[in-house]
């Protein structure tokens, strides 16, 4: 596969993952904090962490998603999201195995999945998309534009 095609795939992967996360994050910022905390409790997370996470997750997801779309701090944003999604995958899996009433709930990526299995699948897909998103298509990022602009000035 030549570099250009890889670049396009990376860009599309970045857009899909970024848009999915941004949309979900935006919806969560508008949802009630009580509802998000309740969702997290449904996943078997300790009570003390739920309230805190319900405040942090929506804004983290929204802004990291936007950074992914624009390609700003791309490797850092993608890594942070990949780690968060991997942690969530573990949380979702344990909730699913323990048969907690967590069906239809999710932390990252989607606001209201129809089942736990669907949420786990979507998370896995997002993690897979983050790989080409991080390592290909760097020419279409803000990072590249800024670097290019500075390089020209220093020539």
């Amino acid at each position: 596969m030549n570099k250009e095609i890889k670049g396009h795939i990376g860009f599309i992967a970045r857009l899909i993952a970024g848009l999915s996360l941004t949309t979900a994050g935006f919806q969560k910022t508008l949802a009630s904090h009580t509802f998000l905390a309740w969702q997290l409790q449904g996943l078997g997370l300790p009570d003390f962490s739920c309230s805190f996470l319900a405040y942090v997750i929506p804004y983290a997801e929204l802004n990291l998603g936007l950074m992914l779309i624009t390609g700003l701090f791309l490797p850092a944003a993608a890594s942070a999201l990949a780690i968060a999604l991997a942690i969530e995958e573990i949380i979702m899996l344990q909730a699913w195995l323990r048969m907690l009433p967590a069906a239809g709930l999710n932390i990252f990526g989607i606001y209201f999945a129809s089942s736990a299995a669907w949420a786990i699948f979507q998370n896995a897909l997002l993690i897979v998309l983050l790989y080409p998103a991080t390592f290909s298509g760097k020419r279409l990022t803000l990072d590249f534009l800024i670097e290019n602009n500075i390089s020209r000035r220093f020539k």
Binding site: F26, L30, T34, L72, E147, S151
Partner: protein
């Protein structure tokens, strides 16, 4: 070497500036969306939906946030019942609980109404509560009317008790109220009519007039 360090510093400074721009943009967008009462809505249980049935597309889709002990809500309820009676499948009403803290028995009344709903009698039970607010809303002890209305509608008492003790039903009411607050609702009755936020009992009547015009236009065609 020095040139590279300076270049890196400028590069990082610009990226940080751009990141701050993104955060500022997202924050402003969220503030604007909240000010415009946007935000997701949980679906209501089937028994709390009136008017158009199934997937048919109504002319008016109303999400009503109501407190069963609020007098203005009782007035709005009469208007809505009349309008649904008139236009039937042209309107779809989604009833949402928003028990105000100043009404002592509101939350309990919502729970009773939901439990009546589980036995298919939500709207008749809610109507009884609205029509007789003065009898129970200010009561010092738990109003006996809750059980009287259940008896009048011949509801299964055992099922009712199980439902009342079910914490997920209580939770749903609290979540609905939290949802309403997140959407900027401070008083009742509050409506989302075809997605537009409206306050007060008169809002539905105004919208009903628009339906009439729309239906007349359709007839003329």
């Amino acid at each position: 070497m020095q040139k590279n360090i300076t270049k890196n510093k400028i590069f990082n400074a610009r990226r940080i500036l751009a990141a701050m721009g993104i955060i500022a943009f997202s924050t402003i967008t969220v503030i604007i969306a909240k000010a415009n009462h946007k935000g997701p809505m949980m679906p209501v249980p089937e028994y709390r939906i009136a008017g158009a049935e199934g997937n048919s597309k109504p002319i008016l889709e109303i999400y009503e946030y109501t407190d069963l002990a609020c007098p203005a809500c009782a007035i709005a309820n009469i208007s809505i019942t009349d309008i649904i009676g008139l236009y039937g499948d042209k309107i779809k009403l989604h009833f949402k609980h928003f028990p105000l803290a100043m009404h002592k028995w509101s939350e309990k009344a919502s729970l009773y109404a939901d439990c009546a709903g589980e036995q298919g009698q939500f709207f008749p039970y809610a109507r009884m509560l609205f029509e007789n607010q003065e009898k129970w809303a200010e009561s010092e002890t738990e109003p006996k009317e809750f059980n009287i209305y259940a008896d009048l509608l011949s509801l299964d008492k055992e099922k009712m008790q199980i439902c009342l003790k079910n914490t997920s039903n209580q939770e749903r009411i609290k979540l609905e109220k939290a949802e309403g607050k997140a959407k900027g609702i401070e008083g009742t009755p509050a409506f989302f009519i075809n997605g537009k936020f409206r306050m007060g009992a008169g809002a539905v009547i105004e919208e009903a007039k628009k339906i009439e015009n729309k239906l007349l236009q359709e007839k003329r065609k």
